[in-house]
Amino acid sequence: MAGKRASSTAWVLPPLKLLPGTAFLVLFLVVPIALLLVISFWRSSFGGVKVDWTLVNYERLLSRPIYLELMIKSTRIAFTATVLTILVAFPFAWWIASKPPRRRAQLVFLVLIPFWTSYVVRTFAWIPLLGNNGVINYVLLRLGIVSEPLNIFLFNQFTVHLGLLYVYLPYAILPILLSLERLDRNLVYAAADLGATPFQQLRRIIIPLSMPGILGGTILVFILSISAYVTPALLGGTSGIMIANVIPDLFGVGMNWPLGAAVSLLLIVVTIAWIWLIGSRVGLRRIFVEG
């Protein structure tokens, strides 16, 4: 209905109330990213950039394996972390959604607490738990399960996955929960009455109807994971390093802004591809505004 109305008044000018906010976003988000694109075709000079159009940054990006390898590795880690997060979040959200309203509100509050807590704090919180002298090793030693502290918990790719799952789990739980709360339970009961097995109910009714939440979570978790900086820096060690960890050096000590811009754009391209891949299935509007 809204769509019909929009098409008949499609010529109406946007309200003036929109101007300050949109102008701000254009100036401080669209323009800077466009600038990043432009700079990636310039040359680096002492302490800045030189307006001299070139493809040298992209050549370097493709010829030095470190950037491409890190990009592929980051994509792989982000993909695995996203799939894991959704798989863990969905049954949990379903469990919350099946509770009576009062109980549900309390449980949502329990999910919101970590969601509202700084992710620097929450990532750091794993170090005293997983380290060589950490709590887990302490418990294992005291129980006599191991005789030496294990150094397998911290500073590797496993820890990065764990950290990403931990930090971004609420970003998947909350949109999935929103979708599930909107789902009419009678449809599930009807399917059950007609003889659908629990698996069929899940696959044919529950998952399709909660798609906007699932895909919304998929997009958010992937974007935040692929560009993760804090998690690999604190928990990843040298083997867990990701693409975002090399970007600050290019803008700081290493000082090659154009190459840094090219690396950032590579990250944007993968992100856009993911959003397009996921969003084309349902439509971003349904995912973020109605879903």
Partner: protein, 258 residues
């Protein structure tokens, strides 16, 4: 029907495991912050509040806290005003609506590090020095504003416009209608979105890292502490930050549930 009890207990087990997973690390640092040991690890060496005493006596921490609060209040207020205005504008159909929606969603879908780097370049090429209340404020606001829009938009969508039309029929001006009718009805939602905006700014790390010079916010302070001097004092600082966020959440819940 026979499947049910089994399915639910498995789900419950999974849920219990998730809740433990979500809380174990944070509770661990909170507990360790009271441990009278120079390493933030077990064994338990006795209860102490000296890490808190030391943290609170640190002028750099107080400075960072003050910076974070002021930046959060500034960002929250500005985001509340701009975001609400945009949400109000979205009540009517207009040309380019989906394009504008895409623009509003863009900050949510831009990798934080890319946003931070792009803005830092933008300021440097324009020869504007980085500062907390300049470049960092702008970075925070352009990231936080969409969240205000996204939380207020559904509320406004549900809002019954006939009340406003009745007020105007009875002779109220557009401005009077907004301040006497629309705003009071939306106030809890607007305040809730402002608190959310404050917290997002208060917790922001990635953009701030690129957009501030000397002045640190609380997350940056914790970051430098963890990287340079990981003493048990950092567990106390982390616990204090978490407690402050919890307070914000409590305030938010009061308004969001109305």
């Amino acid at each position: 029907m026979i499947h049910r009890p089994v399915r639910f207990s498995l789900l419950g087990l999974h849920a219990a495991a998730i809740l433990v997973f979500l809380y174990l690390p944070v509770v661990t640092i909170a507990v360790l912050s009271f441990n009278d040991s120079t390493a933030f690890a077990l064994p338990w060496q006795g209860f102490t509040t000296r890490w808190y005493a030391r943290a609170i006596a640190n002028p750099a921490l107080l400075e960072a806290f003050r910076n974070s609060v002021l930046l959060g209040v500034g960002t929250g207020t500005a985001a509340m005003i701009l975001g609400t205005a945009m949400a109000l504008a979205f009540r009517v159909p207009f040309w380019g609506k989906s394009l504008v929606l895409g623009l509003i969603l863009l900050p949510v879908m831009t990798p934080p590090i890319v946003h931070g780097v792009a803005l830092a370049m933008f300021w440097r090429l324009n020869d504007v020095p980085l500062s907390l209340y300049g470049s960092a404020f702008v970075g925070h606001l352009s990231f936080v504003m969409p969240f205000v829009f996204l939380t207020i938009f559904p509320r406004i969508h549900r809002f019954d416009r006939s009340i406003e039309e009745a007020a105007m029929d009875l002779g109220a001006s557009r401005i009077a209608t907004f301040w006497r009718i629309t705003f009071p009805l939306m106030r809890p939602g607007i305040i809730a979105s402002g608190v959310l905006a404050f917290t997002l700014s208060f917790d922001e790390f990635m953009r701030t890292l690129f957009l501030t010079s000397q002045e640190l916010t609380l997350p940056l302070f914790l970051w430098s502490m963890v990287n340079n001097d990981p003493s048990p004092q950092s567990t106390a600082v982390a616990t204090l930050i978490a407690l402050f966020s919890l307070g914000c959440l409590a305030v938010w819940t009061r308004f969001a549930s109305r």
